[in-house]
C-alpha cells in the first residue's frame, strides 16, 4: 500500500535529530568552518556517548535517512565528524563474515574515547574508475603486506591518528585479474606502515577531515581480508570483491542523497524565512504567468528538493525491504547532488548580499552542498550507472 506517513517512532527520532541540529550544530557551524582543522571535541564526546547505543550506516531505514537529513540541515561537515564505524563499518557489514563483523565492529560500541571507521578507495591516479586501483596486497605467510597511497579519505585522520579506529582499504591481490582482484582489507589504527600524509583544505564540509593515508609495507593479519581471498576469474560478472564495493555504494548513495537534501533544505528554509520576515508570500497554485520571478524560482527549488527526496526515500525503502536498489540509489544520488548544488547557488542569488556574506550560513551551505555531487560517485558516474541500468548495457557497451 503506497503510504507516505511516518510512524510515531520515526517522527520522534526525526524531531530529536532536528533539535540536535538546531541547538548543538547550528551554533558552532560557522566556527568549525572558519577553523578548518580544529576538532569539535565537546560535540564529538557527546556524539560518541550517543553512538555507542547506536546505529551503523547499513541496514538503514527511513528513520535513519531522515535523521541524517535533519543532522545535515544543522551542519553537514559536523555530521561527518560523527564518531562510529562510518563508511568502513558499512564495508565490513557488506563484505565481512559474522566473525569479522564481531571482531572489528564491537569496539565501536565500547570505551570512553571516541573511535572512527573510514574507507579508503580513491587514489591519486584513480577516482571514479575504482577498478583501476594500484594499491597492492601481497600475501606473506599469515600476513598481508599493503603498499600504496589512498586519498580523500573521509575521517581518515580521526580513524588513523586520533583514535583506536580502523580503515577499510581496497587493494588488488592480482592486478592482472582486474576487478576480480580487488579486495577490502581492514587495517586497524596503530598498525606500523600506515600513516596520515596530509589533511586536505577544502571548499566546504571543512569540519570533516579528508586525509591522505600512505601504506608502506604495512603488515596486517591474514584474517583481515574481508570475505573470500579467492580471485574468481572465470565469470567476470561475478567479481565478488568489486561487486561488494558497488553493493556498498547501493547502501551509501541514498544516504548521501539524504545528506544533500538536508543542506538543500537549510538553504530553502533560510530563503523562505527571510522573505516571510519581509512580508513576501509564496503563493502556491498561482498560474505561472502571475508569479513573481522569485516565487517561480522558489517553487522550482522546492519542487526539485521534493523530487530528489522522493527518489531518496524510494531507494532507502527498497533497501529496507531487502530489494535490489542499484538503479534507484544512483538515480537518487544523481538527482539530489545536482538539485542541492543548484538550489543553494540559486538561494544566494535570491538573497543578494545576505547570500554572499559570511555573516550568514547560506554561502557555507553552497560550498557544503557541492560535495554531494562529487563523493560516493560523482553525478556523472551515477548518471552512467543509471544509463547502463535503463539500457541494460554492460560497462563495455556503455563506457
Amino acid at each position: 500500500m503506497i503510504d507516505f506517513e511516518l510512524t510515531p517512532e520515526e517522527e520522534k527520532e526525526i524531531a530529536e535529530a532536528h533539535k540536535h541540529a538546531e541547538e548543538e550544530l547550528r551554533p558552532i557551524a560557522r566556527y568549525y568552518d572558519e577553523c578548518e582543522h580544529e576538532s569539535p571535541k565537546e560535540l564529538i564526546d557527546i556524539l560518541w556517548e550517543r553512538s555507542k547505543q547506536g546505529s551503523s550506516l547499513l541496514g538503514l531505514g527511513i528513520a535513519s535517512a531522515l535523521t541524517i537529513e535533519e543532522t545535515c540541515w544543522g551542519d553537514a561537515g559536523l555530521m561527518l565528524c560523527n564518531p562510529g564505524s562510518g563508511l568502513g563499518g558499512a564495508a565490513i557489514l557488506m563484505s565481512g563474515t559474522q566473525e569479522q563483523q564481531q571482531r572489528f565492529l564491537s569496539k565501536f560500541s565500547e570505551g570512553d574515547e571516541p573511535k572512527w571507521g573510514a574507507m579508503a578507495m580513491t587514489e591519486p591516479e584513480c577516482g571514479s574508475d575504482t577498478a583501476a586501483i594500484s594499491t597492492t596486497a601481497v600475501q606473506d605467510g599469515d600476513e598481508w603486506v599493503l603498499n600504496g597511497e589512498k586519498i580523500f579519505i573521509t575521517a581518515g585522520k580521526r580513524a588513523v591518528d586520533e583514535s583506536d579506529g580502523l580503515v577499510v582499504v581496497w587493494a588488488t591481490v592480482d592486478k592482472s585479474a582486474g576487478r576480480a582482484g580487488m579486495k577490502p582489507f581492514v587495517v586497524e589504527a596503530g598498525t606500523p606502515g600506515m600513516r596520515v600524509e596530509k589533511v586536505e583544505n577544502k571548499l566546504g564540509i571543512r569540519a570533516s577531515d579528508t586525509a591522505t593515508v600512505i601504506f608502506e609495507d604495512c603488515r596486517i593479519p591474514y584474517e583481515n581480508i574481508l570475505g573470500s581471498p579467492e580471485v574468481r576469474k572465470l565469470d567476470p560478472s561475478q567479481t565478488a570483491g568489486f561487486r561488494r564495493a558497488m553493493a556498498t555504494f547501493d547502501a551509501t548513495r541514498p544516504i548521501i542523497a539524504a545528506m544533500a537534501l538536508g543542506v538543500g533544505r537549510a538553504a530553502l528554509d533560510f530563503v523562505k524565512e527571510t522573505l516571510e520576515k519581509e512580508g513576501v508570500e509564496i503563493r502556491y497554485g498561482l498560474p505561472r504567468n502571475k508569479q513573481t520571478a522569485a516565487e517561480r524560482d522558489i517553487m522550482d527549488m522546492e519542487a526539485n528538493y521534493k523530487a530528489a527526496k522522493m527518489l531518496m526515500l524510494r531507494a532507502v525503502w527498497l533497501m529496507s525491504q531487502f530489494q535490489p536498489n542499484s538503479l534507484e540509489a544512483s538515480m537518487a544520488k544523481a538527482k539530489a547532488g545536482l538539485a542541492v548544488t543548484k538550489i543553494t547557488q540559486k538561494a544566494i542569488e535570491l538573497m543578494g548580499p545576505l547570500g554572499y556574506s559570511r555573516k550568514y550560513l547560506l554561502e557555507k551551505w553552497m560550498r557544503d552542498a557541492k560535495i554531494n555531487d562529487i563523493f560516493e560517485g560523482t553525478g556523472q558516474i551515477n548518471m552512467l550507472v543509471t544509463a547502463r541500468r535503463i539500457l541494460d548495457y554492460s560497462r563495455e557497451q556503455l563506457k
Binding site: 500500500m1 503506497i2 503510504d3 507516505f4 506517513e5 511516518l6 510512524t7 527511513i62 502556491y284 497554485g285 498561482l286 498560474p287 505561472r288 504567468n289 502571475k290 517553487m299 522550482d300 522546492e302 519542487a303 526539485n304 521534493k306 523530487a307 530528489a308 522522493m310 527518489l311 526515500l313 524510494r314 525503502w317 527498497l318 534507484e328 538515480m331 544523481a334 538527482k335 556523472q380 548518471m383 552512467l384 543509471t386 544509463a387 547502463r388 535503463i390 539500457l391 548495457y393 557497451q397 556503455l398 563506457k399
Partner: protein
C-alpha cells in the same frame, strides 16, 4: 509507514488498464490523431472497466467504492501512456461525476449520478479554461450572478472536451470572487457550443469553445447547493490527474526513444552506447520517476482529505516541465526520424507541450 508498493488491488487494476492501453489504444492512436476521431467502440470498451461508476454510491447504482485519487493517478498514467486524447476522452465523465460524488447535494447525486452507471459511455464534461493568455482558475472572468431562484452565467470557455455531446457540463464561474461549480444541462438557453477547436496536439480529442450568454440555471444546480464546493480540492485532484497523465506520455516517449537508441547504429555502434545519448535517457528516466512519486504523494494527501494545494501545484508545474523535456528529447534522439509522422514521438511532443495549457481537463 512509508511504502512505495501499490496494493494488490491497485496492481490488478494497473495491469488491466495497461493491457487495454497496449492491445487497444496503441493499435489505433496514430490513426485517431490523423483523423481526429476516436472509434466509439474503444470508448465503450473502456467504459466497461467502470472508471466513472466505481465511486458512485450503491444507492445511485454505482459500486460505492471509496474515492481514491491515488488509484486514479495510477489509472490515468497507464491510459495516457496508451494515448492522451483517448485517456482524456475516457475519463471525461469523471469531471462531473467526482465533484458531484464528493461535494454534491443529495438531490444532485440522485438526479445526476445514476445516468453514469449504464452500459454505454455517457458524455459529460467540465468547462474551466478561458480563452485568455492570463487565465487563472481562481480568478475567472466567467461570472455567476444570483437572480431570484436562478443563477445567471456569463462568459466564454475553451478546451472543453466533448462539449458538443455532453449531456451535463460542470461550468466553473466566479461568484463574488470565489470559483464555484454550476451544473448546466445540454440545451439550456444561453449555452452555445462553438465549432470544434483545432489544437496543436490531443487532436483526437474533440474540444470546444463555448459561450454563456445570460444562461439561466436553477439555484439548486450550484455544486454543493448552498454550501458550494471546495474548488481548491477539485483543482488539486485535477492537477494530480494531469501530472499522472504527463508521466504516462513521458514514459511512452522515453521507452520508444530508448529502444530506438539501442537499435540505431552510427559510427559502427548503437547511438545509446554514447554518453551524450545515454545521459539524455538517464535524465529522462530520473525525472519521470521523480514526477510519478511526487504525484503519488500529492494523491495520497488528497486521499487523506488534507490540503494538498502546495504538493499538487508544485507537482503539476514540475510535470509540465518534465513532459516537455522528455518528449522533446525523444524527438531529438530520433533526429530527423523523430520529425516524421511515421514515428510517434512528434505526436507525444505535441501532446506534451499542451500540459501548461491543460487545466481542469481531467480529474482523479
Amino acid at each position: 509507514m512509508i511504502s512505495f508498493s501499490p496494493s494488490e488491488e491497485q496492481q490488478m487494476i494497473v495491469n488491466m488498464v495497461k493491457e487495454f492501453a497496449t492491445d487497444e489504444m496503441r493499435k489505433i492512436y496514430r490513426e485517431c490523431d490523423e483523423s481526429g476521431e476516436i472509434p466509439a467502440q474503444i470508448i465503450d470498451t473502456a467504459w466497461e472497466m467502470g472508471f466513472a461508476s466505481t465511486y458512485i454510491p450503491e444507492e445511485h447504482q454505482g459500486l460505492g467504492e471509496e474515492h481514491s485519487s491515488l488509484t486514479g493517478s495510477l489509472i490515468a498514467e497507464e491510459l495516457a501512456w496508451g494515448d492522451l486524447s483517448m485517456a482524456m476522452h475516457i475519463l471525461c465523465p469523471s469531471l462531473v461525476v467526482l465533484p458531484v460524488v464528493e461535494m454534491g447535494t443529495d438531490e444532485q447525486k440522485a438526479k445526476y449520478l445514476p445516468a453514469f452507471c449504464g452500459e454505454k459511455f455517457k458524455a459529460a464534461t467540465a468547462a474551466l479554461v478561458e480563452p485568455l493568455f492570463n487565465f487563472d482558475a481562481n480568478a475567472l472572468s466567467t461570472t455567476a450572478r444570483p437572480d431570484g431562484n436562478d443563477y445567471i452565467l456569463n462568459g466564454a470557455k475553451c478546451f472543453v472536451p466533448l462539449a458538443a455531446d455532453a449531456d451535463l457540463l460542470m461550468v466553473y464561474a466566479a461568484e463574488n470572487g470565489s470559483t464555484q461549480g454550476f451544473i448546466v444541462e445540454k440545451g439550456t438557453p444561453g449555452l452555445e457550443v462553438s465549432e470544434r477547436e483545432k489544437n496543436m496536439g490531443i487532436k483526437a480529442l474533440a474540444t470546444y469553445e463555448l459561450t454563456l450568454k445570460d444562461c439561466r440555471i436553477p439555484k439548486e444546480n450550484r455544486l454543493g447547493g448552498e454550501n458550494g464546493c471546495d474548488f481548491n480540492r477539485i483543482l488539486n485532484c485535477s492537477n494530480v490527474a494531469l501530472s499522472a497523465m504527463a508521466v504516462g506520455v513521458a514514459k511512452a516517449a522515453f521507452e520508444y526513444s530508448r529502444d530506438y537508441a539501442k537499435d540505431r547504429h552510427a559510427f559502427g555502434e548503437p547511438i545509446a552506447s554514447r554518453q551524450t545519448i545515454a545521459f539524455m535517457l538517464a535524465e529522462m528516466a530520473i525525472e519521470i520517476d521523480a514526477t510519478r512519486l511526487m504525484t503519488w504523494e500529492a494523491a495520497w494527501k488528497l486521499d487523506r482529505k488534507e490540503d494538498a494545494t502546495k504538493e499538487a501545484s508544485l507537482t503539476k508545474t514540475y510535470a509540465d516541465d518534465m513532459v516537455l523535456m522528455v518528449t522533446d528529447r525523444a524527438v531529438q534522439i530520433l533526429g530527423g526520424h523523430g520529425y516524421i509522422r511515421e514515428h510517434p514521438v512528434e505526436l507525444w511532443l505535441r501532446n506534451g507541450r499542451g500540459f501548461t495549457a491543460f487545466n481542469g481537463m481531467a480529474i482523479v
